[in-house]
């Protein structure tokens, strides 16, 4: 129980086991440990990502929006963006507001749909992506550098399955 698991490895297997035992439940402590660690790790990595993007004056959400826009030819409707990014339309509105204020995207009315708007990546937005690319992708690569190619493939598979399983949290 040495205190050099700098944290970040919380909770411990013992904690998981004690909790389950405490309530006399017939639940696999290891399964609980995996679930809780993922939730905890997700928050942790999310915060690290937020700090990372802050270097470039962006947030995780704003970066993801810019990148998605560029990958899609530089134009996309807010609804479509919300769908592809997996966030609400209201969130996209907020992200676009911030990006527009900094001149990284522009909004223009849709030509086909009177209700619609199209978000357009500006030259400045593209430039921002270009500027941060080497550092950004370099750090991402370093992040998983400790895993072999095979391990990465396994991780992707397991991660996808657990994420799919996370529907169990919200079911009903």
């Amino acid at each position: 129980m040495t205190r050099d698991d700098i944290d970040g490895e919380a909770p411990t297997p013992d904690q998981a086991r004690r909790q389950v035992e405490h309530y006399g439940l017939e639940v696999d402590p290891q399964a609980v440990l995996v679930a809780v660690r993922l939730i905890s790790a997700g928050a942790r990595v999310g915060r690290a990502a937020e700090a990372h993007f802050a270097r470039f004056g962006l947030s995780t959400g704003r970066y993801r929006l810019l990148a998605d826009l560029e990958d899609h030819g530089g134009e996309k409707s807010p609804s479509h963006l919300a769908l592809d990014l997996g966030v609400s339309r209201a969130t996209v509105t907020g992200l676009l507001d911030g990006l527009e204020r900094e001149g990284l995207i522009a909004r223009r009315p849709s030509t086909e749909d009177g209700r619609g708007t199209v978000a357009v990546l500006t030259a400045r937005g593209a430039q921002r992506l270009r500027d941060m690319a080497p550092d950004h992708f370099g750090r991402l690569e370093a992040m998983v550098g400790g895993l072999s190619v095979e391990e990465r493939a396994v991780f992707l598979d397991l991660l996808a399955r657990v994420v799919r399983g996370s529907a169990a949290l919200t079911a009903d």
Copy 2:
């Protein structure tokens, strides 16, 4: 490229590859994919967890605090809680405020340190944990039910290593 990857599997390997190629970087697209998927999955699972705990009138942070408190005998200082939960002391203050308002914890001044406070799990707090335990742990188990015992062990190992690697995002 069928559109039945309900999302949740975003981004695609193709997107990762295109992005890296676009900037002519010598970065492994698979590594980028793993990193980006983890960031995305973390946010997704985090939101699912938040919705899950909301059922019981709690948030992820508040639940984690209560659980940690119980596991520690029902008493702990805010600073110690912050350390063990991996959040800032200011966040713990906020969590305690909410929990105290609902009568799930109480604050009493520390007897040893004039500056200190001790958070105490109340009977109501313990009851809340007891009430939610079957549903809560059941769902957690279901979440990772798709993985075999061996796969869970592998996942724990890989997850820990990637989390450790995420320091690369904030380094410097």
